[in-house]
Symmetry: C2
Subunit: 460 residues, 2 copies
Amino acid sequence: MEERKIPYKIYLTEDEMPRYWYNVRADMKHKPAPLLNPETYQPMTEEELGQVFCHELVRQELDMETPYFEIPEEIRNFYKMYRPSPLVRAYCLEEKLKTPAKIYYKFEGNNTSGSHKLNSAIAQAYYAKQQGLRGVTTETGAGQWGTALSMACAYLGLDCQVYMVKCSYEQKPFRREVMRTYGAHVTPSPSNTTSVGRKILAQFPGTSGSLGCAISEAVEAAASKEGYRYVLGSVLSQVLLHQTIIGLETQTALKKYDIHPDIIIGCAGGGSNLGGLIAPFAGEMLRGEANYQLIAVEPASCPSLTRGKYRYDYCDTGMICPLQKMYTLGNGFIPAASHSGGLRYHGMSSIVSQLYDDGLMEARSVEQTEVFAAAQEFAKCEGILPAPESSHAIRVAMDEAIRCRETGEEKTIVFGLTGTGYFDMVAYGKYNDGEMTDYIPTDAELQHGFDSIPKFPGNE
Amino acid sequence: MEERKIPYKIYLTEDEMPRYWYNVRADMKHKPAPLLNPETYQPMTEEELGQVFCHELVRQELDMETPYFEIPEEIRNFYKMYRPSPLVRAYCLEEKLKTPAKIYYKFEGNNTSGSHKLNSAIAQAYYAKQQGLRGVTTETGAGQWGTALSMACAYLGLDCQVYMVKCSYEQKPFRREVMRTYGAHVTPSPSNTTSVGRKILAQFPGTSGSLGCAISEAVEAAASKEGYRYVLGSVLSQVLLHQTIIGLETQTALKKYDIHPDIIIGCAGGGSNLGGLIAPFAGEMLRGEANYQLIAVEPASCPSLTRGKYRYDYCDTGMICPLQKMYTLGNGFIPAASHSGGLRYHGMSSIVSQLYDDGLMEARSVEQTEVFAAAQEFAKCEGILPAPESSHAIRVAMDEAIRCRETGEEKTIVFGLTGTGYFDMVAYGKYNDGEMTDYIPTDAELQHGFDSIPKFPGNE
C-alpha cells in the first residue's frame, strides 16, 4: 500500500481556526439586490428590520462592503466545542469508485444538531443575548434548525420558542424531544398561542401546518413579547456570513497540505451551507486569484436554480416577510413531499442567486432515488450515514469522480457533507424497501408557482 | 478570561495512534479464571472455542501472557475513519459546576454506530474475513452492537446476520433501518429460521423475545451455516482487548499535555468500555508505576458489582455458552426495563471482575432519574446529547466534581463518554415529561437471581 501523506482527517488546531467570518458581498462587483419592503417596494431600512431582528444582525444583513467580521470570543469558544470540523479524505470511496480523482469532504455533522445549522444558531443567539433580550422565536420543519437553536440558547441561558410544523411535531417526536431536552418550548403549528394560528385553525381545523404558517406564528410571537426577536436558519445574508466558517476552515485545511481543489460541490436548499462553503473560494475568483468549478446541487423536485426565475419574491409562503431578489419557483410553489425537508424551499439566498446569475457557479438537479443510492454507497465505505440533503452533494461528487475514471483526469473534488441522517430512517427504510419514488414538477406546476411571484415594475 | 493552554479537544495525530492493543491480563498477578465447558466443568479448549469463534479471536481470548497485540494495518486504516476520538476538556461543565476540578471525557460517540462498539466490531469482522469466512452472526438488543457490526461487515464485504430482540425490532425501527442500510440481514428474534427459535415460538407464540433467546439463535445460525462464526460485542476478554484503544489513546493524549488524572470513571454493563478505558491505567498500577482511583458505575437496577456474587455463571440467559467466573446477579436475574439497555446484563467481564475483586477498582450504583438529570445538564453546557448508558459515568464525574467544590481539591477527573443518545429519545421524552421512575431490586429478587447460578464444587 502506498504511503499516505495526507491523513484521513485533516483537523486544524484551535489556533488555526478562523477568527473572522468572510462577507463575500464586499468582493462582488454585482451586489445582491436589497431586501424590499413588501408594501412600499422600497429597500428595507435598518429601523424596519430592527423590529424583527437584533441590531447587530441587521447590521450584518445590510453591510455589503466590510469584507471581514470578527467572530466574538464567546462564539469562538462555543465553536471549539464541536469545531474545527474535519476535512476528510475519502480514501475508501476513491478505492471503491476506482477513480484517479481525489475526493475530500468537509463534515459538519459531528454535533448534536446533526448539521451545520449550529454555526449560525450560536451567532444569532449570542447577539440576542448581547442586546439584553430574554429569548428568541423561530420555526422549524424537519427540526435541525430548531435543535441547533435550542442548543445555542441552552448554552447562553436564553429562552427558545420553536414553532414546529404540526405534521413534523407528530411524525418526528424524537426531534421534538431533543429540543425539549435542551429546554426549548416547542409548539405545534398552527397553534392557538397566536392570532394568525387561531385564524388558520378556525379556517382549517384539521390542518397539519406548513412552514409558511410556522414562520408567521414565530414572527408574531417575537413581535408581541417584550424582549424577543425572531431568528431564521437560512436564506438571509447574515446566515451565509456565519456559515463561511465552513469554507474558511476548508480553505485553511487545504492550504495546510498544499491541496488545490478543482471542483467544489454543495447541496442547495436556502443556500446557507452552499454559500458558506463556497464564499471564500468565490472570493478568490472574484479577486482574480484563482479559478474553481463551483457546483450547487438541488433536488429535481424543487429546482429553484435550474428551473426557477431570478425575481423579487417573498421569502415565506405566508407573504409577510420582505421581498428578496433571488432564483425562485414562486412563493406559491408547493414542493413534492420529498425526504430532503431541508431542501424543500421555493427560493434561494440572494448572494448565491447573484453568484449564479453572474456565472461564477453552476447548478445541477438530481433525483431522490439516485441520491439515496449514493448515500448508501457512501455510508458503506466511509462509515458516516449522511443526511438526505447532504447526499445530493455526494451524488454529484461521485458522478464527477466516475467521470474522472473515464477520462483519466486526477481532479481534486471537495464537497460539503452538511449532516447526518439519524433522524431520517423512515426515508432510508423506504429506500431499503424499494418504495421510494422520484418527482419532477411539470411545466404547468412550475407555471402555477411562477404566477405567485409578485408583479410590480421591474419584476416581470 | 485566563489563557487556556489545554485545548477544548485534544486530538492525536494519526502517527500518534496506538499500533497495539494492550492485554492487561499479562500484568495481573491474579489472572481471570478460565472459561469452563458447561458440561465437563473443564477449561474450554482452543478447539472447542474454535467451533464458535474465529481462530485468531480464540487465541486472543485465551492468551493471558502476551502484553501487546499488534493492530493489523487494515483495522488501523478503518480506525482512522472515525478515530482518534477526542479527549475533551469539559470547560463549560466545570464553569457550570463552579468546581476547581478539571474534567475530561473521552468521547467515543462520533461515528454512525453511536458508540465505542465499532472498535471491536471491525476487529472481529476482520479476523473472520482473514479466516476466509463468508459472514458472521450476532444478536442485538438496543441495536448499537448490531449497527457497529453491520458497518464493519459492509466495509469488508462480509455477510452480517443480526438477530434482533423482537420488541426492539418493533420499537426501534430506526436502528433496524440503519443496519439494513449497511446491508445487514436483520431478523426479529425469536424467528422460525432456527430450531431454537421455532421451539420458543411454539411454546410462547406471542413472546417479544429476549437477549438470551437471540444469542441462542445467532449461535445456532453460525453453527449451521458453512463459513459463518458467531461474534459478541461485550463481556469477552477479546472484546476488552480491542477496546483498550480507548484507554491507550486517552493515556497518550494526557501525556501529550502532561496531565495526571486522579480519578478515571466508566459506566459498566458487560464491561467492554470500562475495561478498555481503564486497562492501561490499571496496568500502570499493577506494575507499581502509578496510582489512580478507578470507578465503575452501574445502574442501581442491575448492580452486578455492588450487589452481585463472584461466581462461575453462564454468560447468557439461555445457558448454552461457556461458564465464566465473574461478578454476577445470576443468569436468571431479570433486570428492570430501564432505559439503559446496554447496561442490563446480569454479569461482568472476567477481567473487570478480577480487578474489582483485587481492590484495584471501586464500584458505585446510581439511579436512573439522577442519571438523566446529569445527562440533561451535561447536554446543555457541553452540547453533546449523551446515551443513557454513558450518562452513568457523567453522573459520578459530576458528583466527584461537586465534592471537589466542597473540599477545594483540584482533582483531575477523566470519564468515558461512550456514546450518543439520538436513538434514546423515548427515554428522554419520559424524563422531560416527569414520568421516569427508579427501580432497585429487593433482596428477594436478588436471591431469585442468585438461585440460578450453577452449583458445583468450588462454586458455592
